[in-house]
Symmetry: D3
Subunit: 249 residues, 6 copies
């Protein structure tokens, strides 16, 4: 199921850092994938519903060439991925064999898949970078998946980077990594995160003006009043001002 466009637009402005802060306040501490990082710097932030993939260790009697034409292959899974989803692949953290190369990434891109997220690795990295298809992974490896992994199914609950991912959970990925928002919590998380981003951009503007941290971050009653006044006057912007320190002059 695709996310509605307005939510997607909002999510594009909310950092994974902010989302984790909102989720920990709701008691969810384990929502950020360990080890999984963007393939390129300055990859734009992405958001989408999770389409899960699951791999287990290879066994030589199962991983025969005949099995490649199996109806339960990663190729078959790609052909049923819906537009706008984010493919999330559980490899149990195996980093010595790649799950996908440039051809499969190109096909996902053709189908309108938003991004690939995995706690494993990809191959043909120059080709994948050439497609501009966004990938978050543990890096790259030359060997094909069949040297170490067998694909066993899709749209099951999985683990990825130590985090539980259920089909249709919302995945957000940016420079700080990948977080998972439980589907049922999406609306309240987006709302609270939006408010927090706005307040932090005001706090940053205060810091840039030279204000000290105590009482400001987190804001005490007086600072909260000043913030509300700034909001009322339309003086806050959602984007954080870029600080200019004494070093940059």
């Amino acid at each position: 199921m695709a996310l509605d466009p307005m939510t997607l637009e909002k999510l594009a402005d909310i950092s994974t850092a902010t989302i984790t802060t909102v989720l920990v306040k709701k008691g969810l501490r384990n929502v950020w994938m360990r080890g999984t990082r963007p393939l390129r710097t300055n990859q734009p932030r992405v958001a989408g519903s999770a389409f899960t993939l699951r791999f287990i260790p290879v066994r030589e009697d199962v991983a025969t060439p005949e099995s490649w034409a199996s109806p339960r292959s990663s190729r078959a899974a790609i052909e049923v991925m819906p537009k706008g989803c984010i493919a999330v692949a559980d490899t149990m953290g195996v980093t010595s064999a790649a799950i996908f190369g440039d051809i499969l990434c190109a096909r996902m891109q053709q189908r309108g898949v938003t991004a690939l997220v995995t706690d494993g690795v990809i191959r043909d990295v120059r080709g994948v970078l050439g497609t501009n298809f966004p990938v978050w992974s543990q890096g790259v490896a030359a060997p094909p998946s069949i040297t170490a992994l067998t694909f066993v199914g899709w749209q099951e609950p999985i683990a990825c980077g130590g985090v539980a991912v259920y089909p249709e959970d919302i995945v957000v990925a940016d420079d700080d990594g990948v977080v998972v928002i439980p589907k049922a919590l999406l609306d309240e998380v987006v709302s609270a995160a939006y408010d927090q981003e706005q307040m932090e951009s005001w706090i940053m503007s205060e810091v840039v003006r030279g204000e000290a941290l105590l009482g400001l971050y987190p804001p005490n009653t007086e600072a909260q009043a000043r913030y509300k006044e700034a909001v009322r006057k339309g003086l806050t912007t959602f984007k954080r001002p870029k600080p200019k320190g004494p070093k940059q002059s």
Copy 2:
């Protein structure tokens, strides 16, 4: 499906070391679980069909007390385990929360389950040892599963200790650890392994007599002839003789 009694009896005399040697000759190198070891020393060797269990990382919004009465709980899985199976639990190697304690082990024992194998850990270790229920695990931890893990299902293909396990694969466990025999290969593996155990017991008797290794292990043509002669004369026993070195006098 339970193993037939004759195969079970044979497997009781075949070490996991020998099984891995037979399997590598068939091209299967990844059949021994890393990290998983017997809970007590001198635990007898066990064999049985795998009954698989799968856990993923916990998420606080899912792991509510209400979920404990879920029809998809580890307790429900235990109540459908067949007599003579070996429960094999995939925890993705998590060792900071225990999947089962003494009560669940006691119930598995009551139901005739042969053993528990996991790449995770168990708790109430003194109580579990008290039941004599055989366990292979990465050790023990006090915290209950819900501090780190969620149970998601049974009889799926899983990973355990880096090895693929499919439901009904044959699991053999002893002091050297746990190995998985693909179901389709059971008969030929048992047959070849039985032959090898017999020959190695003869080689050991030769070593104990003071013979040098070269030409004997692996045996060259001359040694093979001597071995065949020993078999013909009924001079071989299946059990390896205990060597007595100069140190033990």
Copy 3:
């Protein structure tokens, strides 16, 4: 500050497994030390107030022989440990140099220290075992602390096995490892844990009688009523019955 004798007596009957279950219900998930295990099997359970010790990596210009007579040495710390405390040593998980050997353990025992807990290792293991002084550690290593560690102070907040320990927190250690109870929560934890131990011993007796798990563990309304009846009739004992499975006959 020593624990009062009645609380100590109760803690001797409560497993670390049960304490972690009680604490996770209060929202505390990270209270069990990773990697730290009993030096010997069947070491009795211990409990006491934490007396913390802190080590950092060695630097050759600081770890001079002169420094050994420093007023800030581990020897000085031992001489101020109160009777009944448990020494808890933070080594940042270093396992290639031992913090204490048999002489320092013997001295702690002389002073009435209850036990030593560390995420590092000890040396002279045969001598330490000879003293019967209870130790929980990551194992043993021959090298003295000065090959890798410098002692920097005592009774500071520390990390041990990934868990925060504040001076005077209550430490309980048994076969399942070591848990920390925040000082302020001691009374309510002991009370809730005592109740749970009693109920689980009744559940175990039911399992041993052949009862199935569903509805029993966790108990539904009907099972809870039966439990209360058993308590009323004085039919429950605190100690868990030892199950006897079909394997033991």
Copy 4:
């Protein structure tokens, strides 16, 4: 022994990803070094015969200043490296001391060495980058080798990144990492890899045209026929077309 120029030229067009696929079909699964990655992005692919170097852990009584003038030093090894070889250094994966800095890399470059590959690290990274000498390593570290390593010899069989390397094996390194081709298999691997690269570039062109994966990758009989037709018509190019997805417009 230098590789013949034609083989070198072909290897420049064959990715390490393709080589690993060809080798796994011949039963060789462990040919890709774990942990070893290019020092800079967009480093050109290199190939050459392995010239092996071996380090073991340092011991203070051996690593004296006098030993630096030893005839068995890494400097002596560099002075006998043949033109066109790839230096492959086994450090047992030590990453806290660097084996070479900018001066030794500059000297290797002067001698016509093609590249340095190691499962350890290098130092003076800015200087090394300045030389443009290609390096694959686990990264960088400031300390010199003598803080942790001793050089023991060259042109022995070694381990590098978990892979066996024998002197004169062929080493190929690109953005996906480093692979080793056993010397005896070079010709058949190059031939098979060349064919596969060509077919995959055709498959990529089909994917870019919008074709689905099933039946295409791997190609079924019909797709193979279409591929052969394309080859016959000279419609295939060796270089993979760059996909253009809906995101790039």
Copy 5:
């Protein structure tokens, strides 16, 4: 205490590689932080006095919102950091929660702090990069510190990346990582390092001219004489010449 400007200027020209070489000659082998690397490439080298920060694992009963206004917070520590110091934060190597984000980095920059060094990670990485505030860390993570860490104090002896750091030790950081110079050794280290840098730049010029390594690096009596002659004639420059190998033409 700020470093005097002349020492600072000299340190800007001395690489961490050279400092570790000088320190190992004085018997100090453990001065380079493992895992800690520059946040951006081509970050300029920095030097300053260490201002230490210490974190321990979080515990949910301590990490309450009320605690954020504590006088012992990381915010309070930042407000007492002196101009020109380098903040060094001990997180016990935790990489799943970030200690600081863009707001706190901006404030440190405002206060004239030279850089942040940690064996943990930071968040809001794009924002932090935007400030140009120099950071050495193990990378980035989205979650805030309170998901895994509690701040406990400043200006204590700490561990960072496996290295002991005492308040006021001198920290130097560049592309090869971060090294710590014990305060008492600063002058002699700077002096010896300066001499070594000069000699190595002469050796590099010799290598670029085509000289072989043996007798040159390390220099024998004859090479030392040639070096002294070059110094006398003013033919040495402090900056290393960039080698031009046969590959670059």
Copy 6:
């Protein structure tokens, strides 16, 4: 070369803990193998000259059955091991395949080899325990060496558990693990270690009498005088007295 009997006898009374203390005073910090521990508890201390063995990762084209009859096999190495040596096997820490099983251990025992030390693992553990042949290893694994390792030679310098071992170095192993004494330092190490053992046994007797640590351990001038007096009077014994603490009564 076998050790002379008197040195061997002395080494039997000197703990590895004491040897590491003596060696660190001579500046040798890295002499204790990480990860390598005794196969059984209460294994007697052993000492002998190192006979080194070296393994590298397996490659399927090399590890053919024909290679087993190679003159460069581990079997050939065993047949040239001298009486009284300690076999030390470098497996680069691989723990998923065993280097030796009960047959090869029995043969080493027959040849008078004192013990086996490895940073890898062994198999047929029950059989090996049955021989009483002493083993220090990282544990056990069922798979034979050829699933992961290839033997490449003997009596070369090796790494074992992170420690350099040269042929003929002296190896001592006990409950605290395995240490290496450089051959050239043997006599002075034995002498200094013997003195230290004697003094520590006196210190232990003082601690058991109730003496406090400060001034005693390490001993100040007054304590040294008392120790000398005790030696003069023949009141010291080499064996440490067993402490009796308040817990043992």
